[in-house]
Symmetry: C2
C-alpha cells in the first residue's frame, strides 16, 4: 500500500508546486507587477489553477484514494498518513463537484472584478463594481449548488475556509455575542475618551519599518525563510514552508497601521513557518483553517502587541526612534491610546472591542445576498443601515463603506466570519497558555517570546492542516469554539482602561 501512497504523494507534490507558483504570481501582482501585466497575469493564474484542479480531480487520484481509505482506517487516526488520506479525500470529494470550466471562468471573473473594484473605490462609484459583484454572487450560488443537498446555501462557502463548520454554528455564536459587544461599546461611550492624538503625528516610514522588523524578529519570525514587502492591502503568503512572506502598508501619519499590521501578518507567517517539515508539498502543509490562522495573527497583534506587558519591553525602543513624537508620552498614556475604543467606518482600523461587529455586519449581508433576500444593487444602503444600528456611524461615501474591503472583488464570500472566530480562538488558546506558562506575563515584559513560540509550535503550528478547526481547538483547550474567553478578555481589559 506504501507505493499507492507514494503515487498519491507525488501527484500532490506537483499540485503543491502549481499552488506555490500561483501564490507567487499573486504576491508579485500585489507587490511589484506593473499595470500592463494584468491581463497576462490573469491568464497565468487561470491556467495554473486549472491545471492544478484537473490534476487533482483526475480518475487516478480518485482510485488511489479508494484504495487508500480502508488502509487509513488501520492507522493511528492522528498519524500524518491517516490525516493526509482523510484531508485529501475530503478535498477531492469537494473538488470533483466543481467542473474545470467553472474554475477557469471563476479565475477570470474575479481577476477582472478586482480591477473594477479598485477603480470603483478610487472613484467612489459602486455602480462600476455592481455588475461584477452580481456575477460573483451568481457564480457563488452556482458553486453552492454543486454541493446540494446542503442545510444552508452559505454552508459550502463557509466550509471552504472552516472545514466542518456550519452556518448555524456560526450564527449561534454570533447571535449570543452581538448584544454583549454592543453593550460594552455603549458603556465605553459614556466614559471620558482616552487621548490618542500622539498616534496621528508624522512618523517616518523607514523608522516604522525597522521597528516592526525588530519586534517580529523577537517574536521568532525566521528571515531566512521569509521577507517583508509593501502592499496596499497587507497579506501573508507562502511558496512552500521555506519561503513565507509578509506584506505591510505604512502610513506616515498614523503609527498603528504598519505597527499592528506587521505584528498581525507575522502571526500568520510564524504559524506557517512552524508547520512540520514532513507535511511539505502535501495538502497538510499549511494552517488548519482561517479561524485558526487568525487566532495566531490576532494573538501576536492584540494579545501581545496591544498588551501592557509587551510595551513594558518595547516602549523604550519605540520612544528612542520617535523622540519628538513620543518623548513626553508615558507608557500608560501610550497603552491607553493604542487601545482607544471608538466606533469607526473601516474594519481594518477597528479596535478590538468594535472589530467583531464589522464582521457580523458582513456575515449578515453575505448570507442575505446568497439567500437572494438582498439584491447587490441594494447592498450600499443595507450596509449603511447596519453600520448605524451596530456602531452608530454611517459612511459618507461607498468608498469608505461597502467598497472598503477587497474580499468580495476577489469572490471571497464565507471568509469574513473566520476573522471573528479567530478572535475567539486566540483567547481560548491564551487562557490555556497562561495556565501552562504561569510567568508568561513577566517573560513578555522581558521580551522573551521563546517559550510561547515553543508552546504554539507544539500545540498548534506543527500539526498544519491535519485536524479540522473544531477538533484542533478541542484537542488543545478541551472545548470547541466559543465566545466566553473573548468576552471576558474584552470586559476585563476595557473595564480597566475605561474604569467601567
Amino acid at each position: 500500500m506504501q507505493d499507492k501512497l507514494d503515487q498519491l504523494k507525488s501527484i500532490l507534490a506537483i499540485i503543491s508546486d502549481l499552488h506555490g507558483a500561483t501564490a507567487l504570481l499573486s504576491w508579485d501582482q500585489q507587490c511589484y507587477m506593473p499595470p500592463g501585466g494584468v491581463v497576462d497575469r490573469g491568464n497565468q493564474i487561470g491556467t495554473l489553477s486549472s491545471l492544478a484542479h484537473s490534476k487533482f480531480v483526475s480518475e487516478e487520484v480518485g482510485s488511489l484514494l479508494e484504495e487508500l481509505k480502508p488502509y487509513a482506517e488501520t492507522l493511528d487516526p492522528e498519524s500524518d498518513d491517516a490525516c493526509l488520506i482523510e484531508v485529501t479525500d475530503r478535498d477531492y470529494q469537494k473538488s470533483i463537484n466543481v467542473p474545470n470550466e467553472y474554475v477557469a471562468e471563476w479565475a477570470r471573473v474575479t481577476t477582472v472584478a478586482h480591477g473594477a473594484w479598485e477603480e470603483a473605490r478610487a472613484n467612489n462609484d459602486f455602480s462600476h463594481f455592481q455588475p461584477h459583484l452580481e456575477k460573483i454572487v451568481d457564480m457563488r450560488r452556482q458553486y453552492a449548488d454543486f454541493f446540494k443537498p446542503y442545510t444552508h446555501v452559505y454552508d459550502p462557502l463557509l466550509d471552504d475556509f472552516e472545514p466542518g463548520m456550519t452556518t448555524a454554528e456560526v450564527q449561534e455564536i454570533f447571535t449570543g455575542m452581538r448584544p454583549k459587544q454592543v453593550e460594552l461599546i455603549k458603556a465605553i461611550s459614556e466614559k471620558p475618551q482616552v487621548d490618542d492624538s500622539f498616534l496621528h503625528l508624522h512618523y517616518e516610514d523607514q523608522q516604522q519599518w525597522e521597528f516592526g522588523e525588530a519586534a517580529i524578529t523577537k517574536f521568532g519570525y525566521d528571515w531566512n525563510r521569509g521577507r517583508q514587502d509593501k502592499a496596499a492591502h497587507p497579506f501573508t503568503t507562502n511558496f512552500g514552508l521555506g519561503d513565507v512572506r509578509i506584506t505591510t502598508r505604512v502610513d506616515e501619519n498614523f503609527l498603528n497601521t504598519a505597527l499592528f499590521g506587521t505584528l498581525h501578518e507575522a502571526g500568520h507567517a510564524i504559524y506557517e513557518q512552524g508547520v512540520a517539515a514532513e507535511l511539505e508539498r502535501t495538502p497538510l502543509g499549511s494552517g488548519a483553517s482561517l479561524a485558526v490562522h487568525e487566532s495566531q495573527s490576532r494573538m501576536y497583534e492584540n494579545l501581545l502587541g496591544r498588551s501592557y506587558d509587551f510595551w513594558v519591553h518595547f516602549y523604550p525602543s519605540l520612544q528612542e526612534r520617535f523622540k519628538t513624537q513620543l518623548g513626553n508620552v508615558d507608557l500608560d498614556t501610550f497603552y491607553k491610546g493604542i487601545n482607544k475604543v471608538e466606533p469607526s467606518l473601516i474594519r481594518v482600523e477597528a479596535d478590538e472591542a468594535t472589530y467583531n461587529l464589522h464582521i457580523m455586519l458582513r456575515l449578515e449581508l453575505e448570507i442575505a445576498l446568497m439567500e437572494g433576500k438582498l439584491k447587490v444593487a441594494d447592498l450600499p444602503q443595507a450596509w449603511n443601515d447596519r453600520m448605524e444600528d451596530y456602531l452608530g456611524v454611517v459612511p459618507a461615501t461607498d468608498a469608505e463603506g461597502v467598497l472598503q474591503d477587497v474580499h468580495w472583488s476577489a469572490g471571497i464570500l464565507g471568509y469574513f466570519p473566520t476573522y471573528a472566530l479567530g478572535n475567539l480562538v486566540s483567547n481560548q488558546l491564551w487562557e490555556k497558555i497562561n495556565l501552562d506558562i504561569p510567568d508568561l506575563s513577566s517573560q513578555v515584559q522581558n521580551g522573551n517570546f521563546a517559550e510561547l513560540l515553543a508552546w504554539l509550535r507544539e500545540n498548534v503550528h506543527r500539526h498544519g492542516a491535519k485536524f479540522k478547526p473544531q477538533h484542533l481547538v478541542k484537542r488543545v483547550v478541551g472545548s470547541t469554539i466559543s465566545p466566553e474567553a473573548y468576552l471576558k478578555y474584552l470586559n476585563d481589559k476595557f473595564g480597566a482602561i475605561y474604569e467601567l
Copy 2:
C-alpha cells in the same frame, strides 16, 4: 481549418502561461527570494517546465501540425498564421527528437556540473570541474547525433539559439574579422592610453539608479509594462508582452557597471515591449534569436550609450548628479574614458574593440571540443595560448581564465557566438537607420529617440520570432549577417579617439 488552428493556439497559450510563470519564479529567485526557498523553488520550476514540455510534445500537437502544414502553404508566408505553424513545427520536430531519458539525465548532469564549477572557480581548481565538462561535451555530441545527418557536429547546438544558422557561416564571418580586430588593438596599444580614473571614484547607488532610469525613460522603455530591480547577474525577462522587466547591478566604485548594464538590458526589454500584441501567448511572442536580441541591447548600450551624440545630451545631467566626481571632467575626456580600449581577462568587462575576440576564442574552443580535436584536459592551456595570441594577456589563474563564465557548467554550448553576431547586426542595422533617418545624430544630441524607436518597432520589434535571424536581417538591410559595418564602425570610432 480555422478550428484546428484555434485548438493549436489554445494549447500554445497554456504553454506560454507556464513559461511566463516559470520566468517569474526565476526572476523572484534572483531578485527577492530568501535562502530558505531554494528547494521548493527548484521543485516548482522543475514541475512547470516538465508540464510545459509534455503539453508541447503531445500527440495532439503533432497531429494538429500535420493537418495544418499543408494549410500554411496556402497562406502568405509572412502572415502570422503561416509563421506560427512553421515555427511551432520546427520547435516540435526538434523536441520530439530528444528522448525523455536524455532530458532528465541532462538536467541532472548540468545541475551537478554547475555546483562543481562554482567550487572549482572558488578554489581555482579546473581538475574538479573537468570530469563534469567531459560528460557535458559527451552529452552534447549525443544531442547533436539526434539530429543526424548534420553538416557539422556544432550545427544542432547553434541552431537552438540562432535558428537556421550554420557553423560554416559563423566561421567564415569570424575568420575574416579576427585579424582586423587584432590589428586594430595592436595599433591602439602603441598609442598613449586615455584616462578613465574618474570612472573609478565613489558614485552613490541611488543617484546611479535614477540616472539610468531617466536615460531609459528617454529611450522609450515603457514603465507601465516593466520595472527595474537589482540582481547579482543582470538579465531581462518577461511574463508576457505587458510585463517586461530588467535587472541591474550597481557598483558604487565603478560608474560603468550599472550605467551600461541598464542601457543594455533596456535594449533587450524595449525589443520585447515592441513585439506585436497579436503574437502574445504564442511561440512568436518574443525576440527572433539571441543575436537579434543582442543587436538591440548592444545598440542601446554602445551605439547610443557609448556615443558622443548621446553624451552631448546626457552629460550635463550626469555631471549635475555627480558634481564632485565629474565637475572638472569635460565631455571629451568623459567620452574617451568610457571608450577606453584595454585587452583584459574577463569577457563581461571587455570594451567594444576587444569584446569579439573573447567570443571567437570560446567559439573555436567549443568547436574543437565538439569535433574531438581538443581534450577537455587540455582546455586551460588552449585557453591561455589563445588569450596571448588574440589579446596579448594571459590569465594568472584558471579562475580568471577558462573557469570565468557560467555557460559551460550549465551545458550551454553554441550560445557564445550570438554575442558577437549581435554586435555585427547592431551595426548593420545602424547603417540602415542612419540612411533612413539622416538627422539621427542631431536627434540623439537633443535627447530625441522617438523616431529611432519607431524605426526599430517597424523593422525589427513587431515581427517577434516570425522570421529566422538571417531572413530578418536580409529583409531589413538587404544582406545577411556580415562584419563590414562593424569593422568600419570600430576603425572610425577608435581611429578618432586614439588618433590612429
